[in-house]
Point group: C2
Chain length 249, copies 2
């Protein structure tokens, strides 16, 4: 066994015990046994073990890890018959991952401190807020009376009445709305009507999204619902010409 390798092993195991973040660049093969089984032949990968004992194996391409273990995994490096193996197990989740390490390119460990919370603007929730505050984005006379309703009935984005006093249910999608969005809207309306004893003809359904797929449009119109083109809000976009009116309300 190489002296360098033994030093790496010591360094990594110490860092793991101290809940440091550990990064290993290595040629390795990876076997996983848990919800599925997976087998990854040899190649160069980045192994990242976080302070919460999340483990990620990344190939040199793509956004997603090729293998991972969730928070709370027990991880250690062992030597078995001259073979360096990273052993990871999560007893509660019944997950097991072994990485046979053939060659270590580099190792780094560090105690990382991070309490930062991300703020995101432009989510579906922001869209429903925007509509709630700017009902004209839907149509004249629309009066919202609740948003982000998390009840037995469902998670209704915006709930209100139109100029004739008819109940309106709005489902927001921040991107293209597909037939699933229409099904979702239909399900909410079905549940509302059932629970409140209203006829479905007396409730209007609206999809609010930047665009809608052709199949979804057909399904929507078959159900008697309609689509309104609305873009999700962005800070910077508030100054765009098209959405300038947002600031006016």
């Amino acid at each position: 066994m190489d002296k360098d390798v033994l030093e790496y092993i010591g360094k990594i195991n110490t860092a793991l015990e101290n809940n440091e973040t550990v990064i290993i660049a290595a040629n390795c093969e990876v076997n996983y046994y848990g919800k599925v089984e997976s087998f990854l032949p040899s190649g160069d990968r980045i192994i990242l073990i976080k302070s919460d004992k999340t483990l990620l194996v990344h190939q040199p391409t793509g956004v997603n890890p090729i293998n991972y273990m969730k928070e709370g995994t027990e991880v250690k490096l062992v030597v078995d018959k001259g073979q360096v193996i990273l052993k990871a197990k999560h007893l509660f989740l019944k997950d097991f991952l072994d990485a046979k390490i053939h060659l270590i390119h580099f190792v780094n460990t560090h105690k990382l401190e991070d309490g930062g919370k991300i703020e995101v603007v432009g989510s579906e929730a922001d869209m429903s807020d925007m509509i709630y505050e700017n009902p004209l984005l839907i149509e004249p006379g629309f009066k919202p009376f609740s948003r982000e309703e998390h009840t037995k009935v469902g998670f209704i984005d915006v709930f209100g009445t139109d100029k004739k006093g008819k109940v309106v249910v709005i489902e927001c999608k921040r991107d293209n709305a597909d037939f699933k969005a229409v099904q979702q809207l239909h399900r909410y309306i079905h549940k509302i009507c059932k629970s409140k004893g209203i006829k479905e003809e007396n409730v209007r359904g609206i999809i609010a999204s930047p665009k809608i797929s052709s199949n979804a449009k057909v399904m929507l119109e078959e159900l008697g619902y309609k689509h309104v083109s609305v873009n999700p809000p962005k800070y910077l976009a508030r100054y765009d010409k098209k959405q300038k009116r947002l600031g006016e309300f």
Copy 2:
């Protein structure tokens, strides 16, 4: 400007030009503008830039990156008024990410080579294969005649007839089946009947999954469909007592 920092910058930019994989552990704040806008205040993070110019920003906890840029991003480190900034842009996707770097904990770069393809056992496709080859897992007399049907009709997992010659459509779920799985099954059957001019009463629907949610069960039975308990296949599980019979067919 620190001499160390200038060395880091040079090292990183050179590595990026050579399509090496780059790892930076740094205290930084991150702004993203693209599909949404996001703002992440200061904290210690791992920044990983892959050889295909995928960029990931990981906090010290959790499986998912807190920010990312997809394959094909232009990345460089610049110094602006004494401030080190990692600038990433993806012109085609109209995505922009800036990371203001306050402190670098460590940097590592390496040329990584990996052609390894993962093999996964236990996916939904494996389940439908298993059922196709072992129809008794569904019921006596079931005769499958296609699997993984990707056609106009839909993506039907397993398609066949029962002992009375009635058409059977099976939707597989590798885990808990929810009401969406039932909707999916219903949708497929609806489309089949429409395209082939069959009455829906003459088609049977089956959800094959390890378990099913109570709501889904209710919906399933209202539609006259049924649930069959099937576990996704695993190599090792073939030797389990319960599934030993798989090998017998």
